[in-house]
């Protein structure tokens, strides 16, 4: 260790260190242009000149390459030093008068103009580029020439073959002198960031994206210079944790497993194959995946919507649908990708939100397929409220206007004329396809694929592949959106779980909960974490101001703002900060506790803090999102909310949680396909099930269905399922039974069943609601007035009875969307398009000469159902579109049904006679308010049950222990009902398998000394939690059973003696919030 004086202060350094390094460590700034930590110093720029006193005399040395020695004295900022540096800067400025960094230095040293003759160079000959090139193991450039001719160049001053275009020289050059294109023979392009769809570059060593799990950098062997030349290793030198190991090898790990789940996902279609769209040539034609990044706050433009070519804000954007879907001419993806219509509508609405009203958004589509739950409403709002234009036309080509970079989109309008519109940006709604390597994987595993290269499955076992024990979920099973993928994930887990149920918990490791720190009696130390949520909060609220304000509040020890407080890396740093700063109360100002409280509480538990010492300030959902027009008021509100939260959190105390046994039986309500599948899946996992059906027999709506779109006979399969249920020892079937009453809560329900007047009570730990839906009885198109007008289910009944009259029909007409997508029922019934086409094809099979017409609004044969639509067109079935404003009119005329319809292609009314009119009647929910109230679960305005989360919790309710599947959730075909039933079971099993659960710590408690034994609490509690003590010193006083208590606090508000209090929502705590409002 060497000790010397730096600006009069005693400092220490290691033998061999240079002055600059030591100074940096002690926070003493010395200017330099030619220094780089990874390179040997050269002393080239001379800017780091300092004054050295060796005991006898003073001299000037360059700090970057002067080794330290014992007893020396260094002065870095004397007048002499500054004078010397000023001269150096002046000389540099004379050489490079236009270089920004030099100009800034000149300003710092008070130089306006150099006294010397000005040159026009931009290289200061610091040699950083040549030194780094050598470090990269290359040496493609060097300093050549002499005297005034000295310069950085390649051998013979020609583009070098040796240069690998790694760009290290460019990245270190302080003046921007190096032009890689002049040095290398190779193409210069950034390494495209996979996460940003190539819209941004990344480094060879990178974290894939901010929320990646694990959040650890990886090295890309293809672009890392060490792997290309064997040199560099700068990362090894700079990683203080010593974590870099270039010698790591890929490992082959052999696992013995009982089941395999395939979830390889999809790849987006590459539109480069469509020459007519010019995607490869014009940067302003982007794919929907790229556009998604442009809209994202963590994307290349931070969510600022601009054109890639020139960074200008677009005023007109077009979406072109079905790129790489429903197309057998330019690619062989004949299927519909299912998700593109909805994502295009979403992108258009978000783009309009980002652009603030001035933006014109047009979507060019063939059929608008918004068949998901609540999607139709979103589509209607996009058109009516947000003004997104929807144009039904397939786009043949896109042309570029060279001068402006604008795009010309020709299309056929409603009047059958070809018109052209100009757009600044075109988004290609690319479809989903299975990647070649996944096809390869399927081959290796021996699982069969469909003609669209998706995994082949059976409608009654939608996630089982052709090979026993291998299951599939997500887009490899067929193109689908997030909710359906999540459902299938649960379904696959249930299937695999059934195979493995015997070995349950035999290989599990129990997570060790970190020891909780006892912080009672400690001084209050509040940590406040303010979230930016990308731009969701920071785009409106001044997050820094809120953070700084929080720091000024009493007891606040630590404040920080985070880009995404919920991200994995922030959770880790949060844990660290809590430990390091010894925080004992935490406030997170972010989104809503309804979605994120649990996550932050888990982090607190990991840091050894009781999770109830926590409060959230809702500055997103209830602030930045609802006051977008008034950033000042939103910021003021955020400060108020943080102040209130801090006031409350300081009064919170650590709470304990009670443990609760979970009854291992299940109740399934509804004996249709979904209910029966759920019962079977629960039984397969070893649980007893009580299956309740209100009808006289099992089967539900499937009893009325003829065959699947894939051709399977439904009745045969249904019989198999019913037999399996009836023969299952674990399942008790209760027919003609309804629910009378439900008591209790998660893990301990007591339900009263009523069967023909007789009551029976069953105890169960969980419940699955699978009550289904029914076909609408139409009130239009002469339904009920003429026997030739039938619904789908009625026609299926005729098929099943094989009625010969059907063969004699000359013309059959189908009308779609009867009662669906209407103002009073603004949802799509999802199954009717496929059902109509399947029935129409069957009519054609019965009588090939029959004329069959399908009158439709949008044909929604999503996924591989599209093949059926194509098959129908090839079979000669005619499709005529109509709009809600011009619905077909049905009347009786001369013995036949007369149908009038406006044909938009012919631009005239068509009148046709028909012997059979089939109405694709809507699927309507039972809207069972009583059941909803009994289980305390919500119904939506259409009457379907509302799941916990539309995307991430589609098969469960927000109410613990109650699960959802089948058409009670939303209209769906059999395969999707089966998948959701299995998914509901898989969610339920995660609870059942735990056997014990913890209740909340937020419960009421009684101070018996204050209790006046009035009994009001016992009276008002809906959960029967308070009772009067029968024994002990406080006999006659109230007490609360923490297991039954739901923490509503009604008893607390009602207690006239002030004996009751609610932990976590105490009087003092709420009063503190009011006082700090």
């Amino acid at each position: 260790m060497i000790t010397f004086k730096l600006n009069g202060r005693e400092v220490q350094g290691e033998e061999g260190e240079y002055i600059l390094e030591v100074a940096e460590r002690y926070g003493v700034e010395i200017p330099t242009l030619c220094h780089h930590k990874a390179l040997e110093p050269a002393g080239a720029c001379r800017l780091c000149t300092v004054e050295l006193f060796d005991g006898r005399r003073t001299r000037f040395v360059t700090a970057c390459n002067y080794p330290i020695w014992e007893g020396m004295e260094v002065y870095t900022d004397t007048d002499e030093v500054r004078r010397g540096r000023k001269l150096i800067v002046e000389l540099l400025l004379a050489r490079c008068p236009e270089v920004p960094i030099i100009r800034r230095l000149a300003e710092d040293y008070g130089i306006e103009e150099p006294r010397f003759k000005k040159d026009e160079d931009d290289c200061i000959l610091c040699g950083l580029c040549t030194r780094i090139c050598e470090r990269m193991g290359n040496g493609a450039i060097s300093l050549a020439g002499r005297g005034v001719g000295l310069k950085v160049t390649t051998p013979f001053e020609i583009q070098s073959d040796l240069c690998m275009a790694c760009g290290a020289c460019v990245s270190v050059c302080p003046t921007g002198h190096i032009k890689l294109e002049e040095i290398t023979k190779h193409t210069v392009k950034p390494i495209p960031s996979e996460y940003d769809m190539g819209l941004r570059g990344r480094k060879p060593i990178y974290v894939p994206y901010a929320q990646a799990v694990p959040n650890t950098p990886v090295i890309d062997r293809d672009t890392c210079m060490h792997f290309r030349t064997g040199e560099c290793k700068i990362c090894v030198q700079s990683c203080s944790a010593g974590a870099i190991d270039h010698a790591q090898q890929d490992e082959a790990i052999e696992l013995r497993v009982g089941a395999i789940i395939l979830a390889p996902g999809f790849q987006a279609f590459d539109p480069g194959r469509y020459e007519a769209y010019g995607y490869a040539e014009n940067p302003n034609i982007v794919t929907s995946m790229e556009f998604e990044r442009l809209l994202s706050a963590s994307g290349p433009t931070m969510g600022h919507l601009v054109r890639p070519s020139d960074g200008k804000e677009p005023r007109r954007i077009a979406w072109v649908q079905c790129v790489g879907s429903r197309d057998v001419h330019r690619c062989d993806n004949a299927y519909c990708s299912s998700v593109c219509c909805m994502y295009a509508v979403k992108q258009a609405v978000i783009a309009k939100e980002h652009a603030g009203g001035e933006l014109d958004c047009a979507i060019f589509y063939m059929d608008m397929r918004t068949h998901g739950k609540d999607f139709e409403r979103y589509y209607n709002d996009a058109r009516d409220k947000h003004g997104v234009r929807f144009i039904r036309s397939r786009i043949p080509a896109i042309e570029t206007v060279k001068e402006t970079g604008e795009l010309l989109v020709p299309y056929v309008n409603e009047k059958e004329r070809v018109v052209e519109e100009r757009f600044d940006l075109v988004v290609l709604s690319v479809g989903l396809e299975t990647a070649a390597e996944v096809v390869e994987l399927a081959k290796k595993l021996g699982v069969q694929l469909t003609e669209g290269r998706f995994c082949k499955t059976d409608p009654f076992r939608p996630v089982a592949t052709s090979r026993e024990g291998i299951f599939v979920c997500g887009a490899f099973q067929g193109p689908k959106d997030i909710p359906q993928s999540v459902i299938e994930a649960g379904s696959a887990a249930a299937e695999a779980g059934a195979l493995l149920s015997e070995g349950r918990n035999s290989l599990t490791l129990t997570r060790e909960e970190p020891q909780e720190r006892d912080c009672r009696g400690e001084r209050l130390r509040v940590g406040v974490f303010v979230c930016r949520c990308g731009i969701n909060i920071a785009g409106v609220v001044d997050v820094e101001a809120v953070r700084d304000y929080a720091a000024s509040l009493p007891h606040v020890e630590y404040v920080a703002d985070n880009l995404y407080t919920c991200s994995q890396d922030t959770q880790e740093s949060l844990t660290e900060v809590i430990k390091e700063k010894n925080l004992n109360r935490i406030v997170v100002a972010a989104c809503t506790p309804k979605t994120h409280e649990a996550l932050f509480q888990e982090t607190m538990a990991n840091a050894g803090l009781n999770k109830y010492l926590f409060e959230m300030a809702n500055i997103r959902n209830q602030d930045s999102w609802v006051h977008q027009e008034d950033p000042e008021a939103a910021t003021a509100k955020a400060k108020d909310l943080v102040r209130m939260a801090v006031a409350k959190v300081t009064l919170l105390e650590p709470l304990r949680e009670a443990e609760l046994e979970v009854n291992q039986k299940a109740l399934v309500v509804g004996g249709g396909v979904a209910g029966m599948t759920a019962a079977r899946a629960l039984s397969a996992q070893g649980y007893e099930v009580c299956l309740v059906e209100r009808a006289q027999s099992l089967g539900g709506q499937a009893r009325n269905l003829y065959r699947m779109w894939t051709g399977e006979n439904i009745q045969e399969r249904l019989e198999e399922l019913i037999e399996a249920v009836q023969g299952d020892e674990n399942i008790r079937v209760h027919l003609e039974t309804e629910l009378g009453n439900v008591e209790g809560f998660v893990g301990n329900f007591r339900t009263t069943l009523i069967c023909r007047g007789k009551e029976e009570v069953v105890e169960h730990g969980i419940a699955v609601i699978a009550t289904g839906a029914q076909e609408l009885k139409p009130k239009e198109y002469l339904y009920g007035e003429d026997s030739r007008v039938v619904t789908h289910l009625e026609l299926d009944r005729m098929f099943m009875n094989d009625e010969s009259a059907l063969r004699g029909i000359k013309r059959a007409v189908f009308i779609q969307c009867v009662g669906s997508r209407e103002p009073e029922r603004p949802y799509c019934s999802r199954v009717c398009c496929t059902h109509s086409i399947e029935s129409a094809l069957h009519l054609k099979e019965l009588n090939p000469d029959m004329d069959v017409y399908i009158l439709y609004r949008d044909i929604r044969t999503y996924g591989e159902r599209e093949y059926l639509y194509r098959k129908a067109r090839l079979a000669g079935i005619l499709f005529i579109p109509f709009s809600l404003e011009r619905k077909p009119r049905v009347s009786l005329g001369q013995g036949a049904l007369k149908i009038d319809i406006w044909d938009p292609l012919l631009c005239q009314d068509i009148v046709m006679n028909s012997d059979l009119l089939v109405l694709a009647a809507a699927i309507v929910p039972y809207g069972d308010q009583k059941l909803a109230r009994m289980f305390k679960v919500p119904l939506n305005e259409d009457g379907f049950f509302v799941e916990a989360h539309a995307k991430l919790g589609p098969s469960e309710f927000a109410t613990d222990g109650v699960y959802l599947c089948g058409m009670a959730h939303y209209p769906k075909p059999i395969d999707e009902s089966v998948a959701q039933a299995q998914a509901a079971v898989s969610r339920a099993v995660t609870l059942l398998a735990r056997q014990k659960i913890k209740t909340s710590g937020t419960v009421a408690e009684v101070n018996p000394l204050y209790c006046s034994s009035c009994g009001v609490c016992v009276e008002v509690c809906p959960y029967k939690a308070p009772t009067m003590r029968e024994q002990g010193p406080f006999a006659g006083k109230a007490e609360v059973n923490p297991v039954l208590c739901k923490g509503c606090g009604i008893c607390v508000a009602s207690c006239r003696s002030g004996a009751m209090s609610l932990k976590g929502f105490g009087n003092d705590q709420i009063m503190a919030m009011i006082a700090h409002m």
């Binding site: 809702n618 027009e629 606090g1049 009602s1054 929502f1065 709420i1070 409002m1077």
Partner: protein, 90 residues
């Protein structure tokens, strides 16, 4: 907000006092304390955000586990601390 509507609806009368009252009403911003049930109204307020419904920033929401938790004392306390209105929803 209420003041703004009144100011627009009222015909000019020429009486100074009324003008002054109207002006101060126009600038006046009420402060409203909202006690919202965690399970319903608080969730609805979150949903309003998700749907980007815009409303005046005059509310300060206090989350309660149930509207039944709201004691009359809280309402009085809110008025005492300067609230112009109290909203209990659940």
């Amino acid at each position: 907000m209420i003041g703004a509507v009144e100011a627009e609806d009222t015909e000019p009368t020429g009486i100074c006092e009324i003008d002054i009252v109207e002006k101060s009403m126009h600038d006046w911003q009420p402060k409203i304390t909202a006690f919202l049930c965690h399970w319903c109204s608080y969730g609805a307020a979150d949903l309003a955000g998700v749907s980007r419904l815009q409303y005046p920033p005059n509310f300060r929401i206090i989350r309660v586990p149930c509207s039944g938790r709201v004691s009359p004392k809280f309402i009085l306390a809110a008025f005492r601390h300067g609230a112009d209105g109290v909203w209990v929803s659940g």
